[in-house]
């Protein structure tokens, strides 16, 4: 009788441990159970240096979606973003690829516009700003002078 209570206790802790482990891997792996929720918006950038699927999309620092995929279309980078359903993007919103801090990870920042036309699901964000490539800028002004 006494033994089985101990077994039960151990079993309980093992199950709790497995659940915690599962939760951790979902959190760390950024697995979305609710994938497919929200709507898709694409944007074409001349370069997305450093952006990856899973990078965040933000307005005013608040996450409103994730980058779902990046592909090459006509030698430009096309990114697919999944945006939360409750966030509407105006047609003249500007998407820029920014860096968190000086050398932090890349994310997409959206500067909301004022147009009354909204970007429909599967629509395209026309206004984009490519990331500023500091190395390129530096080399331009270091090696540029002849």
């Amino acid at each position: 009788m006494h033994r089985s209570a101990l077994d039960l206790g151990v079993g309980f802790f093992v199950i709790v441990g497995i659940l915690a482990f599962g939760w951790l891997s979902v959190k760390l792996g950024r697995v979305e159970f609710l994938a497919g929720q929200g709507y898709v918006v694409t944007a074409d950038f001349p370069s997305v240096g450093g952006l990856k699927p899973g990078s965040t999309v933000e307005i005013a620092g608040v996450e409103i979606g994730r980058v779902e995929g990046i592909s090459l279309v006509e030698y430009q980078a096309r990114i697919r973003m999944r945006i939360r359903n409750d966030v509407k993007l105006q047609e003249d919103s500007i998407a820029s690829i920014k860096t968190k801090g000086l050398i932090g990870e890349r994310y997409v920042r959206i500067n909301p516009g004022g147009s009354d036309r909204l970007i429909p699901p599967n629509g395209r964000l026309r206004e984009v700003e490519a990331p500023v490539d500091f190395e390129e800028l530096l080399s331009k002004y270091i090696f540029g002078k002849v």
């Binding site: 500007i94 820029s96 500067n111 909301p112 490539d133 002004y141 540029g144």
Partner: protein, 213 residues
Amino acid sequence: MIRYRQMGFVLAAFLLLVVARDAWAGPPTEQLKGSIDRVIQILDDPALKSDGRVRERRAAVRKVANDIFDFGETGRRSLARHWAARTPQEQEEFVELFADLLERSYISKIELYGGEKIQYAREQTDGDFAIVYTKIMAKQGQEVPADYRMLRRGDRWLVYDIVIEGVSLISNYRTQFNKIIQTSSYGELVKKMKTKQEEFLEEEAKGRGSAKN
């Protein structure tokens, strides 16, 4: 006989089309280039180069800018969410102040122009929108990419945004305007813009006064 003439006509039309397509880089580039060439002409004009005629030169540049720029669209997009809340009079006043602000910020830079070449790299049209990619070739060999975002209005293509080295003009002002309106008010923004413009005019008047003495 008739068939030959018809064929000749078709051939001529075809040739004309090919030649025309080669000659035009597309209306957006064509119209943009026309305006930029006119500005360069004004800046290179020796008659307008003297200090005493700064005002005249600036007025001439502004006139060209008014023809190719859609300041209304730039203003609307820069004010973004706060645009719709304004009355038509406020919107009109704002566009005027904004055009003055752009003139103030850029005219002095434009006047530094020293014969840099401008290369029209390519053009991308998408319905009523177009992007003309250009490169400003500085004398030291740097290339500064400048993309002009244009919008079709009737048969005219007007610039509403300039993206230099990846940084958009509208995005820059949108962030600043939004910050000012959020932390104080729209009235404060207009007040700020007005005082800046007055200061600029005063300084200009002073500058002219000292140039005469």
